[in-house]
C-alpha cells in the first residue's frame, strides 16, 4: 500500500506541475499585460503596478516568474476577478462547494438509480426487462443535458409549478455561509425558518441534480450490468451454486459485493464527466456554482478568473480521481499491485 500511495503522490505532483505550468502560461497567451492577467488588478495605479511587478518577479526570467506564481497559489492568492474586482479564492470556496453539493447529490441519485437497475438487467440477462432497461439507458445517454434541463424547467416549474427553476434556495431565506455546503449551513444556522429553508433547498436541488444524473445513471446501468454479468460467470459463483445456495443468497452475499468493487473506479472516472454536465446545468438552473461562474467569466473575458477557475476545477477533479483510486485499492487488494497510474 505504501508503494501505491507514493506512486499516486508522485503522479499527483507531476500532474499539478503541468497544470500550474499551463495555467501560468495562459497569462502570457491571453491578450494584455501578463502581470495584470495574473493579478486581475485592472485598475491598478502606477505604484501598485510596480508592487505587483515585484511580487510576481516580472523583471526576472520566466522560471522565477513561475516560482513567484506558485508562491502566490500556495499562499491562497489567486488574484482578483477582472470583472467584479472580488478576491477569487474566497469566492471560489462558496462556488466550489455549491458545485460539489450539486454533483454529490447528482452522483448519489445516479448511483442509487443506475447501479440497481444495471444489476437487475444483468440478472434478467437477455430478457424483456433487460432490453427495456438497456434501451432506457441508451435514451438517457443520448439526450443532451441542456435540452433536458430546459424541458424539465418547462414541465415541472412553468407548467406544473411543482419545483423552482433557479438558484440554490429561495432568496428570502437568509443563511450565513459557514461551511459552504448549504445543507449543513442551513442546519447549523439559527434562522427561525430553518426547516422551511431546508425543504426549500431540497426542492431547489431536485431538478438540476436529476438532470445531471440522467447521463451518468445510464452509464452506471451499463457498467453495473457488465460487471454483474462478469461476476455471475466466475467460477466462485458457480461453486456457490453447486454448494446449493439459493438465488437470493448468491446475488446478495457474493455477486453484488464483488460487482460493486469494480464499480467504484468507474464512479471516480465518471466524476469529471459529471462536473462537465454540472457546468452546463448550472447555467440553465442559475446554480451559483463554479461552472456557471467560469462560463460567465469566459463571456466577460475575465482572464484571471478563467485561469484560476480552470486550475481549481482540474485540481479538484484530479483529487477526486486519486481519492477513488485509494478507496478502490483499500477495498480491493488486487488493484494495489498494478504498476501504472491509470
Amino acid at each position: 500500500m505504501l508503494v501505491f500511495t507514493l506512486r499516486r503522490l508522485s503522479l499527483f505532483f507531476f500532474t499539478m506541475l503541468i497544470l500550474t505550468l499551463v495555467s501560468f502560461s495562459l497569462s502570457y497567451l491571453f491578450p494584455g499585460n501578463a502581470v495584470i492577467n495574473l493579478s486581475g488588478e485592472v485598475n491598478a495605479s502606477a505604484s501598485r503596478l510596480q508592487e505587483l511587478n515585484v511580487a510576481y518577479q516580472m523583471d526576472n526570467n520566466v522560471f522565477w516568474q513561475y516560482i513567484a506564481y506558485l508562491q502566490h497559489i500556495f499562499s491562497g492568492d489567486l488574484g482578483l476577478s477582472m470583472a467584479s474586482q472580488t478576491i477569487i479564492s474566497t469566492e471560489m470556496v462558496s462556488l466550489l462547494s455549491a458545485t460539489i453539493e450539486l454533483s454529490l447529490v447528482a452522483l448519489s441519485i445516479a448511483m442509487f438509480v443506475g447501479i440497481p437497475l444495471g444489476f437487475i438487467s444483468a440478472v434478467k440477462h437477455n430478457k424483456p426487462t433487460d432490453n427495456a432497461i438497456l434501451s432506457m439507458s441508451m435514451l438517457g445517454d443520448s439526450i443532451p443535458v441542456f435540452w433536458l434541463g430546459l424541458l424539465a424547467i418547462l414541465t415541472f416549474s412553468i407548467n406544473l409549478g411543482w419545483l423552482p427553476s433557479a438558484g440554490q434556495m429561495s432568496l428570502l431565506f437568509e443563511i450565513k455561509l459557514v461551511t459552504g455546503i448549504q445543507f449543513i449551513d442551513i442546519l447549523i444556522s439559527e434562522n427561525p425558518y430553518k426547516w422551511q429553508a431546508f425543504w426549500d433547498a431540497v426542492a431547489h436541488i431536485i431538478l438540476p441534480a436529476c438532470v445531471i444524473a440522467v447521463a451518468p445513471a445510464s452509464i452506471f446501468i451499463r457498467l453495473a450490468r457488465t460487471s454483474m454479468i462478469e461476476v455471475l460467470e466466475t467460477s466462485y459463483i458457480r461453486a456457490a451454486k453447486a454448494k446449493g445456495l439459493n438465488f437470493k443468497q448468491i446475488i446478495f452475499r457474493h455477486a453484488i459485493r464483488n460487482a460493486l468493487i469494480k464499480m467504484i473506479r468507474h464512479v471516480g472516472l465518471q466524476f469529471s464527466n459529471l462536473i462537465t454536465l454540472a457546468m452546463v446545468t448550472e447555467v440553465i438552473f442559475s446554480w451559483p456554482g463554479i461552472g456557471r461562474w467560469l462560463i460567465a467569466s469566459i463571456a466577460q473575458r475575465d482572464y484571471t478568473a478563467i485561469q484560476s477557475g480552470l486550475l481549481v476545477l482540474s485540481c479538484f477533479i484530479f483529487i477526486v480521481h486519486i481519492l477513488t483510486d485509494f478507496i478502490y485499492a483499500a477495498l480491493n487488494p488486487l488493484a494495489r499491485g498494478k504498476k501504472h497510474g491509470s
Binding site: 412553468i158 427553476s165 433557479a166 429561495s170 428570502l172 431565506f173 426547516w195 425543504w199 442559475s286
Partner: protein, 556 residues
C-alpha cells in the same frame, strides 16, 4: 410486516413535514417581495448616477428627499422638509425639517440622533463643495447636478438652526424645488459620514448606504441579489412588507421563467407579454415615460425651410406602422412632444392623420410636386426612446417614396456625428430626448426655444410667439394657466412642424395579481413602499382593506 410499518411511518413523517413546510413558507413569503431586476446597481448613492438600475435599487427604497411629488406630479409636497418658504426674489429658499426622522440602524451603523440640518448640509455640500471631505469619494461625478448646473445655482447652504436650512441661490430658478424632489437629491447621514472618516472608510458611504427610507440594506452580492429589510422606525407608517429582495437576473428569459414559476413576485422589463396575459394569476403594469423620439428637420436648409414641405411629410408618415415594427407596440404613439402622462398634456390634441393624398397636395402647393431627394441622419444606436432607429429610418424611407421623395439614409456611430448634427450639416434626422425633471418645461424651453437652438435642438427652429408663450408659462405658478400656455405652445409646434413626434417609450413591470400597491411612478424610479402581498388563498379581501387605509394614512 416490519417493512410495512417502516413505510407507513416514513409516509406519515413526510406528510407532516411537507404540511408544516407549506404553512411556514406562507408566513415568510407573505411578508416578503422578490423583485427580479435586470442588472446590478453600480452604486448605492443616487447622487452619483443617472442609471435607472441604480435609481430603482436605491432612491425610493433607501432614501428620502426634502420634497416629493404629489398626485399627478403637478404639485410638490412635503417629505423630509415639512414646509418651505421661498423669498420674494426667489433667491432664498428655506426648508423646515421634520423632527421625527430616524436613520437606518444596521450592522454597520447605529445612529445616535434623528435627522437634523447637518445631514441636509452634508448631503448637498458633498456635491457643491469641491473641498468637502466626501466630494472626491467615488469620483467627483454628480451627473444630474452637473447637468442642471446645480453648483452655479446654489451659492451656499446655511444652517439656521437644527431643523431649518436655507439655500442661497445665485438667481431665481423655477426648477430648483422640482430638482430637489427628483430621485437624485437624497439625504445622507452626516453622523455616518463622521464615523466613516474616523475609521478611514469613506468609500463605504456609497457601498453600505444609510438613509431614512422605508427599507434598509441588509446584504448585497454583486450580480446575485440585494436584500433589504423594513426600516421599523420609518417616519411614516412602516412598509407593509418586511423583506424586499432584488433577484438580479440579467437574462430576459430567466426573468420570464422566474415570473412564471412564481419565484419572483414582480419582474422588470418582461418579455413575451402575450404569455403573461394568458396567465390568470399574472398582470402587466405599464407607464409612459417622460421622453419622446422624433423626426426632426433642419429648418435652415431647403427644402425644409418651407413649412408646407414639413407638413406634407408629417401627413405621409405612418406612425402606427412605425410603432408596430420598431416598438412592437410597446410604446405610446406621440401626438405631441409632451407625453400624455404629463399633467400639462392637452387632451384635446388629436392624432395626426395619415394621408398620402393630403401630403401630395401640400407638396405640389409648395412647388415640389415631382418630389426631391433628401438626407436622413440616423445614429444607429439603441436608446430608451428608440429601440431601433435604423429600422425606423428605413420605414420612413418607404413611406416617403410614396410621395416621390427619395430618402438617403446617412448613419454613423462615431462621436463626431453628434457634433456634425449640432453644427447643422443635416437636412433631417431621427433623435429623441428624455426629460431631466417632471416639469413639462423640460419638453419646451431646453429643446425648441430660440436660445436653445445651439444646444439641444438640431432643428434650428426659432419662433418668437412660441418663446413668448413658454416664457410666460414659467412666470406663473397657476397650474391651469400654465396648462393653457403649454397647449398653445404645442399647437404652434404642430402647425410649424419643426419636428414630428413619433413615440413615447413605455416602461413595463409584470407582477403576480396577489401583489397589490403602486410600484411604478411617472417621475423616476420604482418604489416598494406601498406594496402588499396577499396569500393566494382566501385572505385577499381582508388584506386589501388594510392596504387602503395605510395608503390613505401615507398620503396624509
Amino acid at each position: 410486516m416490519k417493512k410495512l410499518i417502516l413505510n407507513v411511518t416514513v409516509l406519515i413523517s413526510l406528510v407532516f413535514l411537507s404540511s408544516c413546510y407549506d404553512e411556514k413558507l406562507l408566513s415568510l413569503n407573505e411578508h416578503s417581495i422578490v423583485y427580479c431586476s435586470e442588472s446590478s446597481p453600480e452604486t448605492f448613492n443616487p447622487q452619483l448616477t443617472l442609471s435607472t438600475t441604480a435609481i430603482d435599487a436605491t432612491s425610493n427604497q433607501l432614501y428620502d428627499k426634502l420634497l416629493a411629488y404629489q398626485g399627478d406630479g403637478s404639485t410638490l409636497g412635503s417629505s423630509l422638509a415639512k414646509s418651505w418658504h421661498v423669498s420674494r426674489d426667489g433667491k432664498k429658499v428655506t426648508f423646515y425639517l421634520r423632527k421625527n426622522v430616524a436613520f437606518h440602524q444596521t450592522a454597520y451603523f447605529t445612529p445616535s440622533r434623528l435627522l437634523t440640518a447637518d445631514d441636509v448640509m452634508f448631503s448637498f455640500n458633498r456635491i457643491l463643495d469641491i473641498n468637502h471631505p466626501f466630494h472626491n469619494v467615488s469620483g467627483s461625478n454628480y451627473p444630474f447636478f452637473q447637468n442642471t448646473s446645480f453648483n452655479n445655482l446654489v451659492k451656499k447652504i446655511e444652517k439656521i438652526n437644527d431643523h431649518t436650512v436655507r439655500f442661497h441661490l445665485a438667481y431665481a430658478d423655477n426648477f430648483f424645488l422640482a430638482n430637489l424632489a427628483t430621485d437624485f437629491a437624497v439625504i445622507l447621514s452626516a453622523e455616518y459620514g463622521k464615523q466613516l472618516t474616523k475609521h478611514h472608510a469613506k468609500h463605504d458611504i456609497d457601498i453600505y448606504p444609510i438613509g431614512t427610507g422605508p427599507f434598509k440594506l441588509k446584504e448585497y452580492r454583486v450580480g446575485s441579489f440585494i436584500r433589504y429589510y423594513r426600516h421599523e422606525k420609518y417616519w411614516q407608517q412602516p412598509a407593509q412588507i418586511e423583506q424586499l429582495v432584488f433577484d438580479i437576473t440579467s437574462s430576459n428569459t430567466g426573468r420570464l421563467t422566474k415570473l412564471l414559476a412564481k419565484e419572483c413576485d414582480i419582474s422588470s422589463n418582461p418579455i413575451a407579454h402575450e404569455i403573461i396575459h394568458q396567465r390568470d394569476d399574472l398582470t402587466i403594469d405599464s407607464l409612459t415615460e417622460l421622453d419622446v423620439s422624433y423626426f426632426g428637420f433642419n429648418v435652415t436648409k431647403a427644402p425644409f425651410d418651407n413649412k408646407l414641405v414639413r407638413q406634407a411629410i408629417s401627413y405621409a408618415i405612418n406612425k402606427k406602422a412605425l410603432l408596430e415594427t420598431v416598438y412592437q407596440n410597446k410604446a405610446e404613439l406621440a401626438n405631441a412632444i409632451l407625453p400624455s402622462t404629463s399633467w400639462a398634456y392637452d387632451k384635446k390634441i388629436t392624432a395626426q392623420v395619415f394621408s398620402v393624398d393630403k401630403a401630395k397636395e401640400l407638396l405640389s402647393k409648395a412647388g415640389y410636386g415631382d418630389g426631391f431627394t433628401m438626407e436622413l441622419w440616423v445614429i444607429p444606436k439603441q436608446e430608451t426612446y428608440n429601440p431601433d432607429p435604423l429600422t425606423m429610418a428605413k420605414l420612413i424611407q418607404a413611406d416617403l417614396k410614396k410621395i416621390n421623395i427619395k430618402v438617403i439614409i446617412v448613419s454613423d456611430k462615431g462621436d463626431t456625428f453628434l457634433h456634425r448634427l449640432s453644427a447643422g450639416e443635416q437636412q433631417s434626422f431621427l433623435l429623441g430626448w428624455s426629460a431631466e425633471h417632471s416639469d413639462p418645461d423640460a419638453f419646451f424651453t431646453p429643446r425648441l426655444s430660440c436660445t436653445s437652438t445651439n444646444n439641444h435642438s438640431r432643428t434650428f427652429w426659432c419662433n418668437a410667439e412660441y418663446d413668448n408663450i413658454i416664457e410666460k408659462s414659467l412666470q406663473t405658478t397657476n397650474i391651469n394657466q400654465r396648462k393653457k400656455y403649454y397647449a398653445k405652445a404645442m399647437a404652434i409646434v404642430e402647425q410649424e412642424v419643426p419636428l414630428i413626434p413619433i413615440a413615447h417609450s413605455k416602461r413595463y413591470l409584470a407582477r403576480g395579481k396577489n401583489v397589490k400597491g403602486k410600484v411604478l411612478s411617472p417621475f423616476g424610479g420604482i418604489s416598494f413602499y406601498r406594496v402588499v402581498k396577499n396569500s393566494d388563498n382566501g385572505k385577499v379581501l381582508h388584506e386589501n382593506k388594510s392596504t387602503d387605509t395605510v395608503n390613505e394614512k401615507g398620503k396624509k
